[in-house]
């Protein structure tokens, strides 16, 4: 385990140094991502200016949801680049090279790149989150801070798990299935509003099939300290981020099945 962490650290530091080789271009790209994801938030501002409230949720509360989802997704997106590009690797037959190395394939893929420019979306999410939280005058005790960090960690694991599953599918299909984007980008789009505003089928899907609600809804309701219109038990809101970690662990098991199934395309 220590050996794996050490190796991951080496991979990441190489990737970071590579990206820092062109500093000006890196700064431009990061700023660009900050501005572009910021433009997205205009949508929410305009809708609240027009309608005033979203079924009793204020713009400050929605900002907390929006900000935390952006933070969460940018973290997993930055770390999952290797899995993102996995289908191309399969097509080119490059995956064989990973198999002959005496280390876990998932570790090698995870270590491919830490995409630093995602810090643009991360910062934008953080700014929106801090703005929303400051408007609400939340009492920031240790428990709330811990729950916020747990929700971020659990959410990042969950998104990572989805990306791993998407990559795993490529063992059978040899191409990225765009439909999975409904769950990743669609999940981000959906959970930027409180899940309670959607129709029941949607809520069920994001609770039981892809448990995004456990990291991007229930814990945030607890952080905001308001009653849940969906009626989840109070204790569950505090432990639900663990579901995200569990999801990642399961995804990695499915990944192993995929690796066993793998036959090279030979090109």
């Amino acid at each position: 385990m220590r050996d794996a962490l050490y190796l991951y650290g080496r991979y990441i530091s190489a990737s970071v140094r590579g990206q820092m080789a062109y500093k000006a271009s890196f700064i431009m790209l990061t700023l660009g991502h900050f501005v572009i994801t910021g433009i997205e938030f205009i949508t929410i501002i305009v809708l609240f200016a027009r309608f005033g409230t979203l079924e009793g949720w204020s713009i400050a509360e929605v900002s907390v949801f929006y900000g935390l989802v952006a933070i969460t997704f940018s973290l997993s997106d930055a770390a999952a680049r290797g899995f993102d590009l996995f289908a191309d690797m399969i097509k080119a037959g490059d995956f064989d090279r990973l198999l002959v190395r005496p280390r876990a394939t998932a570790l090698q893929l995870a270590g491919q790149e830490l995409t630093l420019r995602r810090i643009g979306r991360f910062t934008q999410g953080l700014v929106v989150f801090l703005w929303g939280a400051s408007q609400l005058h939340l009492a920031w005790n240790a428990a709330r801070i811990a729950l916020t960090l747990a929700a971020i960690l659990g959410g990042a694991c969950l998104f990572y798990g989805i990306i791993v599953l998407q990559a795993t599918l490529a063992f059978w299909t040899t191409e990225t299935l765009e439909i999975v984007n409904s769950v990743t980008y669609g999940g981000v789009q959906t959970t930027q509003y409180p899940l309670a505003i959607y129709r029941q089928e949607f809520q069920r899907f994001f609770t039981y099939v892809i448990p995004l609600a456990c990291t991007c809804y229930f814990p945030i309701v607890a952080i905001l300290g308001r009653p849940d219109p969906l009626g989840s038990p109070e204790w569950f809101r505090w432990v639900s981020p663990a579901v995200g970690v569990l999801f990642l662990v399961l995804s990695l098991q499915v990944w192993k099945v995929g690796v066993r199934h793998y036959t090279s395309t030979g090109s």
Binding site: L29, I36, T43, L47, L54, I179, S182, F202
Partner: protein, 263 residues
């Protein structure tokens, strides 16, 4: 002229190859459309004040947006990017065609082919099951069709600006990510322009982005009566001409400073 036509049809056939991707794309599009509609539904439930657009119209508007998403200038021609990176763009310049129009034809194919693959199934499904409506009168439908044609030419002029920007920035991620983000917000793709605050509307109605989504979609809904379409079409065409002129000027400058790296 024949050469340009051949160019369009060759690119077109190439792009139609990606049918499997299109099917996956349709599922994603339906998902995003549903999520957006549900959010609007909740917003409309939250306020009893009269809104500039009815919920019924919003549903149709969202599905139109999902159906014609690929027609928006949201990406560059990746083959052109590869040509510019490898230096093979020099061959492009040797062809006995006007470079701007040749690339413009590629852009037309890039916009039309994926749109055809996605729009027809998305519109069909949305009409049958998801609450999308037909235009109220044949005149609205005709005005919409004309508006879409104008939107196509305008969108290609935008695409060309992004393509040409690649001559300056090799990795091409600056302008090519900024323009699509502006397009999504300012064209009315993310939210219909009538829902913006009045002061923002006054600015947005002047900008070129409006001709991409706002004009044709509101003609479809009959929210802009067909009789009032004339000046809007003129504005659309004027911006298209301006962007084409700007693109041609940039391209001629870019060609002069282009250094082909041998190898």
């Amino acid at each position: 002229m024949r050469a340009y036509r051949a160019l369009i049809s060759a690119r077109f056939r190439m792009l139609l190859q990606y049918r499997a991707a299109a099917i996956g794309g349709i599922g994603t599009q339906l998902f995003f459309g549903l999520a957006m509609i549900m959010a609007y539904e909740a917003f409309y439930r939250s306020s009893s004040a009269a809104q500039p657009m009815s919920y019924r119209d919003i549903v149709t508007y969202v599905w139109l947006g999902q159906a014609f998403l690929a027609m928006l200038p949201w990406n560059v021609d990746t083959d052109l990017r590869a040509l510019i990176r490898s230096g093979a763009v020099a061959y492009e310049m040797l062809r006995p065609m006007d470079l701007y129009w040749a690339w413009y034809c590629r852009a037309l194919a890039l916009r039309i082919a994926p749109t055809l693959l996605r729009a027809i199934p998305v519109v069909t499904l949305a009409m049958l099951f998801l609450g999308m409506h037909l235009p109220p009168t044949p005149a609205s439908a005709a005005a919409w069709a004309l508006g879409m044609l104008g939107s196509l030419f305008l969108g290609c002029a935008f695409t060309m600006l992004m393509n040409i920007s690649l001559l300056w920035t090799i990795s091409g991620e600056g302008i090519t990510t900024l323009i699509p983000a502006l397009v999504l917000v300012c064209s009315g793709m993310n939210i219909p322009l009538p829902l913006f605050p009045a002061w923002a509307q006054r600015i947005l109605y002047w900008l070129p982005f409006r001709g991409l989504i706002d004009v044709p979609f509101r003609l479809y809904l009959g929210e802009i009566p067909p009789g009032e379409a004339g000046p809007l079409f003129l504005q659309q065409m004027a911006w298209t001409a301006a962007l084409i002129l700007a693109g041609r000027w940039l391209l001629s400058r870019g060609k002069r400073r282009l250094i082909v790296q041998g190898g």
